[in-house]
Amino acid sequence: MAEERRWYTGMFSTEDWWAFWLGTFFVLLGIITSLSGVDLVGWIIKFSKWVAIEKAFRASHKELMSPIASLISTYIILLLTTSVGAYFMKWDIKKYFGAFTIVFWLSAIAYIIGENAYIAATELDRAKYGIDWSLSLGGAFYIMALIIGLIIGNFAPKGLREFIKLGARPEWFIKVAIVMLGAKLGYLAIKSFGYAVHLLTAGASATIAAYLLFWPLAFLAGRKLFKLSREWAACLASGISICGVSAAIATAGAIRARPIVPVMISALIVVFAVIELIVLPGILAAFWMNEPIAAGASLGLTVKTDGADAAAGAILDELMRSRAELELGQKWEEGWILMSAVNTKIWIDMFIGVWAFVLATIWVYRVERRPGEKVQKMEIWWRFPKFVLGYFLAMFLLLLIGFYLYPDTASAYKALTVGIKPVEGSLRKLFFVLTFTSIGIVTDFRALKQEGLGRLTAAYAFVLAVIIIPLGWLIAWLFHMGMMPPTVSP
């Protein structure tokens, strides 16, 4: 007999909930450090631009331990904390230990190489590092991690590839990072509260408008132009309009599509999201410098996996801030463009459950007319992305502490920096790099060559290029026009 689902079902057995637990755990460590003065986060590794290798990384609170001790401590603590989640999710712990170890060290190597000053330093940084040339590739460490991952995912022997995949969990790692990003939003909102509220509200509105337009247009194109049957067109429309793999699976469940439908569409979503991640940040940074927040928001509307969206947002943030500093002489605060990308994405994520419920209702009562059958409203909660709770919890905790425990925002900001900065900065970026490496490892471009994907690939590519991306850009601009990231105070 199937286990009855309750509101708390999956609390200790799903990746989504474990992103909530882990992300919240690290944010709480930061908060306790700030409030009590007991240093629980100083061990976190902080990578920096370097010319001499000994400057490549150090402990966040460098008086606490040596750089090597910090790197090893970070590895051990991340291995143990993620293994707790892996244990409860009933993964093979021994294999996870080995696979995560490989993913961690590959990510650390990519991070160090990508932060070399000759690669990463901007023109303005060169004097600081005593160099006379550099490639000015901000965020190169992300690309480096992705390339290393893609090489393994596409060229390593099958046995090794499958083994490493056990520790390469892009969606899990990025969700943990997004909870930490909630802490960053709360921390920055202490200084720029109105701006943060504006960003959240505009993002939510853009998302509602976008997916209500994306879905019917994608469905129409699938049905009319590519002659897909209703089950294929509906799952493809949800996957490409709402939130990728989760939405395709949720829709397939809601309309009772054959199991093969969401699986094939998910393969396409993952591959196309990586292509978007590689292509879109460069295009947006080159042509949309006057609307950085809209550009970030557009990524959330058009890149269909959480990992690839946040990854693309992180690259865009680096690229645009470098250009702004160099060409406009403006120093934009780090993270707002990324938060804009993540903001629209998490709103879309939240609508998966609602949309699955709506489609299930339409299918039961109108399409298939199944008499006597009812659609449970709890579906909305079961399909709600739980890590989003962590994002908002972290944000509100920081805001409450900042506004109520300190006499003014300046002292709150200063006090919270000690504990929160290592978590929302260094650790979050490390989780981003782990995500990039993992995305590369799990992305197998050979999937596109498989039998049966021809017409679907054409439909997906057409809808993405002709409907989703242009319309996503338009809606992102309409709802964020004129918004610029706050600048760094001198």
């Binding site: 019917p216 039998e451 309409l478």
Partner: protein
């Protein structure tokens, strides 16, 4: 790639090519079915899904944009 079970014998079906069409073929009994079935456009169902969602999208976009523009974006012009 996950496969589908044969409705007649329960064995695994695999994707195969027949002329220009992709089909699912049972590896055991040979039962075949189209991967993507031909399903003509039904105005009552497909039209309903498309029309109402599009109308809701357009209305939502206009209303939400008007609210966001007048309350938030106007401050950034």
């Amino acid at each position: 790639m996950a496969e589908e079970l044969c409705p007649t014998c329960g064995s695994m079906m695999e994707i195969a090519k027949m002329e220009d069409e992709d089909i699912l073929r049972c590896t055991s009994c040979g039962f075949e079915r189209p991967l993507i079935a031909v399903e003509p456009w039904d105005p009552e169902i497909d039209g309903f899904l498309t029309k109402y969602s599009l109308v809701a999208g357009i209305i939502a976009m206009i209303v939400l944009w008007a609210i966001i523009y007048t309350t938030i974006l106007v401050q950034y012009r």
